[in-house]
Subunit: 647 residues, 2 copies
């Protein structure tokens, strides 16, 4: 198994991502800080920090919030850690240090750290892994601790979490006397691999392996746990009602069978991708080929059968879950922001397992489309659910009340905004991976990377106006000449690429899994130019996707477009885009913070007086204007659709 | 207001409808009789007859069933009454007489007759009009009693019901001491008009008017009733939970405002159309122009904004209700058989109010499509929900579990099968209406009508192979020459009609609201020939119906077609019907009991390896075969769709 490893020192100087990273630093982090501290007017209190104060004995009161309220604090700390990488901010770091110190003071003597159980049910730790998110919260804190250690070099947070993990390791396992359980919401597995990465302590890897291997083994742990729970004094949860697991059985938690036997992506989409991330991580760390193969099968199932063109996943609100192949309704789906963020993270891990363009293509599709759509351009409002079609009747349909037609302020249950924030704050972690002698460039994000290749320190810069422009320049800085491979991804969406090294054409005849491998002895100042043709593509769906037939979606480079009422008038379903119409691209500085918009000559079906008619349709010429999907609903509410009827 | 009146003596000798009437007589009525008497193996007991035996003191035991269980008995009696018209069956009539006699014995001394309240809550009569269907059941018994009296001339049933209505009239009204309530499920209003028709007792008309006028007046009765109910000892109902009226408010029962202020069809679709029937009836009887105008506004709202091409209504399972304009999903709708049956009955009443083709066009659309689809060709299995599109993933979607992919045996809650049965058994009531001197022919159903026109006894026969063939022959039998008008509907779907009287062409230049009025002194044996061109129409939807764009539905004469997997292979959404393809019609004796099938040269999109692709689609030539929608799913289960993608 030829795996690649992450590259640490990457600085983003990209006009597109830098803007988003600044929004996270300047808007999202301070806003969430206020939320965590109940300082937002007219908003339901979070109580998340206060819960820790009470647990530390420094405040009076009772626990308040969801069972996973702690994880909001964890995600904030993780985002802060990434943001501090290239945005030093002593004041913010001090706040973070104080929170970490508070975590330490609220930790139980044996290492346990979860305010819900510490305050509400001190005798019932680990009695409802199915629903109560203890291990999930632990996982988020571990991720945050690792990130904070990596950015700041400080150890306090990591020590707190290692102490907690030590306890978890004593509690869970197949050995006599241990609980044979695993999390109802996966997360700690992937976090433990990160903890191993930073500590090199094999115990953490073994614990992750245990959670992965035990999942779905008969007898199913959650069934036994539910029986046991009847004998203790504990509150019943949302999932104790009639329709357990939303009628999805243990598929809801991907616990219906051992993970290596799972051939189809099922259940809650966020849970699923978090599991798959850990599986890919373990396959890469341990060389477990059965896990790798399972990951590949599940990947193909998601990407070939269950993924929206925006990289949205989760076709149904019921269980926020995957449904069956090709069931991709555009107006009633879930497509949670978190799920696309998780898909991006999964793609990132698959790329480490196997530097194959197909993973980078989905990674890129996710970060430029179905994740970013979850936030407005100011970082102030958020979508949890990301529809691909909003009709005039959308907001009054009772069965689609989960689909909001405009972004909402920070929610009480705030999973998506901080998840998106940490993805943006760490976007640089997706650009490169490497082996000893090869640097893979998966994404084109302007900036600088420093790493060691073939034993030599190398710096490479990318500069360009991606994703709006496909002309990319790379410059190699190397003190002395260095022999290494530069592997450049030729994106799957690009049929026409031109690569030159110091002005000399390089043949693209032999790509390795979609990457052009340029092997040479690089000299200081060597330049690589890459031209990726960004002709607008009319994307069409597989014929089994019944809802998208007769329609095309416009894509330019990695950007999926949509049409909005504000540009095209009402009744977007009445527009027709002729197959032969030329589509014009134009960068507009003043539109949506600067985007390429698309225009084409099309038609509008003239409204008739009848609901059904055999009369010839009257087509009225109309210019059709499309804007990037991620930026929809930034100019008021209205209709939107990604799939445009053709004529 | 120029109203027309029903014509009584109509004999059906139509190959299409005679077959269905025989199925009702030979299959549905005996089967339902067994159901009512708990004689079906492996089926949940109905207990409906047994409830009456217990109420009569002739059996021991307890009430069992829904609060509207009685209505199953009523609908059976009503269907029997219609069926006996032209299918004399002494044995069946004896059974009916015995049931009627049992009803009489179970009736309370004061006339009250409802087994749920008699047996379960004797002290709580009229305390939950919102949910408990007392007046609804009474309405169905009144309809049955009227029908039974009209067919058999017997009075017992009618007397029982008049006694009950006398009690209801004493209980309800605006006068001091009376309950100012009205039914939660409309039905008794239209039944009272029928009772007036057969008795000419104005009291019944006034009671119907009271129920109609009181509906939706402030303070809303159901709100006050719910408050009062808190103080009595009564069981809570499905509708006492959090989501009262499915979140639809009093729109669910069309009680949100006085009926004359209602401008949009809202709420439970069956309730709605039953209300509108009574409103149209009262408008016709009393000349109430405000009611007539409201009916016209509501009609246009349904037909221009909320009706499927099959005449299905009710776009959402939530509340089995109307939603907003143009919200017509094909795979998740409700389209209850009962609702389309009710729409047909409403059209029938609108035609009496105003002999306008637009009503007859919908009547015809309903009886040949969205109602009949509710029963298989053998009368043994039934759809409650009538989808227009079934995809491979349909049956596993949790949010669409109300949509069955094959017809089911008689259900425990058996509203649709008997409703459809009574529609079929009385289909002749829809063919004609008349004034003193004009006979309107609304439907082309072969057979004989006897009536009096301009004071003369006239008999007219229709003979043809409608709906498969558009050549219709009418023959006038009149003892002596008679001066009257024959008004023939030229269907809205027909652009090319030719009418001859005794071989002589009649101009169609002047139609009166879609009817050709032939005024002459008719002689014995005069013949009228009517040729209705049945060229296949490609129907398209209004551009606001987002889900149907780029697709056409095939219609020939009144028959709406669909494509099925059994004829076309799997993945029907992958088929393409070119706009210019010729569509061939062919009568096939051996297919689906004899139907015209349609074939056309089309294409199939070749499946690609990718979910989304910008490659040119590969189109493989394929013959496309369409069959009548009403007959779908009679040759095994599989995909089906009405709307076919065009190319
Ligand atoms: Zn989320
Ligand atoms: Zn029904």
């Amino acid at each position: 198994m030829k795996v690649t490893t992450p590259v640490k020192h990457v600085l983003v100087e990209d006009h597109f991502w830098k803007k988003y990273k600044q929004i996270v630093a300047n808007e999202v982090i301070p806003y969430q800080w206020k939320a965590l501290n109940d300082e937002l007017p007219n908003t339901e209190p979070s109580h998340a920090i206060e819960n820790f104060r009470i647990a530390a004995g420094e405040s009076n009161g009772e626990f308040y919030g969801t069972v996973f309220q702690d994880s909001d604090v964890a995600k904030w700390l993780e985002t802060v850690a990434y943001s501090l990488r290239d945005n030093p901010n002593p004041e913010l770091e001090k706040k973070a240090d104080e929170v970490i110190s508070l975590l330490g003071r609220s930790q139980a003597a044996d290492g346990y750290l979860n305010t819900y159980y510490l305050l509400k049910e001190p005798n019932n730790r680990w009695t409802n892994l199915r629903d109560n998110h203890e291990l999930y919260c632990a996982g988020h804190f571990i991720e945050a601790a690792v990130a904070y250690n990596e950015t700041t070099g400080k150890n306090e947070f990591l020590s707190i979490m290692e102490k907690y993990v030590h306890l978890i390791d004593q509690v869970f396992g197949t050995e006599e006397g241990k609980i044979k359980g695993y999390p109802g919401h996966e997360e700690i597995e992937l976090a433990l691999v990160k903890l191993f990465d930073v500590t090199q302590n094999e115990k953490y890897l073994r614990l992750a392996q245990y959670f992965i291997n035990q999942r779905g083994q008969e007898p199913i742990y959650f069934r036994e746990e539910a029986e046991k729970r009847k004998k203790i004094d504990t509150a019943s949860t949302w999932n104790d009602e009639k329709n357990i697991n939303f009628g999805l059985g243990f598929e809801y938690q991907q616990a219906h069978q051992p993970v290596r036997e799972q051939k189809e992506a099922v259940g809650h989409a966020v849970r699923a991708v978090y599991l798959y991330i850990a599986m890919a991580d373990l396959a890469a760390k341990t060389g477990d080929s059965s896990l790798k193969e399972t990951c590949e099968i599940l990947w193909d199932d998601v990407v070939k059968n269950k993924m929206y063109i925006t990289a949205g996943i989760g076709s149904a609100v019921n269980g926020e879950a995957f449904t069956c192949n090709h069931d991709l309704p555009n107006d009633s789906m879930y497509c949670e922001t978190c799920a696309s963020v998780g898909l991006a993270f999964w793609a990132n891990r698959m790329l480490r397992l196997d530097a194959n363009r197909k993973y980078a293509d989905v990674l890129e599709r996710a970060i430029y489309n179905g994740t970013l759509s979850g936030m407005d351009l100011d970082g102030k409002r958020f979508f949890y659910v990301n529809p691909l079609e909003v009709n005039p009747f959308q907001h009054v349909r009772k069965d689609q009340q989960h689909v909001k037609v405009e972004r909402q302020k920070w929610f009480f249950c705030a999973c998506c905004p901080p998840n998106l924030a940490r993805m943006i704050a760490s976007v640089e972690d997706n650009i490169y991976t490497q082996t000893d002698d090869t640097l893979y460039t998966h994404l084109y994000v302007a900036g600088k990377v420093e790493t060691t290749l073939s034993g030599k320190k190398i710096e490479i810069t990318q500069s360009h106006q991606y994703p709006w422009d496909g002309d990319i320049a790379l410059t190699v800085n190397t003190g002395e000449p260095a022999h290494f491979n530069l592997a450049l991804r030729i994106p799957g969406w690009c049929q026409n690429a031109v690569v030159k090294v110091n002005g000399q054409l390089i043949s693209l005849d032999r790509l390795e899994k979609g990457y052009l491998i340029i092997e040479r002895v690089w000299q200081q100042g060597d330049s690589v130019s890459l031209h990726l043709d960004m002709q607008v593509k009319r994307m069409r769906s597989h014929p089994l996707v019944s809802m998208n037939q007769g329609q095309s979606a416009l894509q330019r480079g990695p950007i999926v477009y949509c049409i909005e009422e504000v540009d095209n008038g009402a009744n977007l379903a009445g527009l027709r885009l002729p197959k032969e119409s030329e589509i014009t691209s134009q960068f507009k500085e003043d539109v949506l913070n600067g985007v390429v918009i698309l225009t084409a000559d099309g038609y509008r079906v003239a409204p008739s007086n009848e609901l059904y008619s055999s009369e010839q349709m009257e087509l009225v010429p109309q210019k059709i204007t499309a804007v990037p999907y991620y930026a929809w609903c930034n100019r008021g509410t209205g209709e939107m659709r990604v799939w445009i009827y053709e004529s």
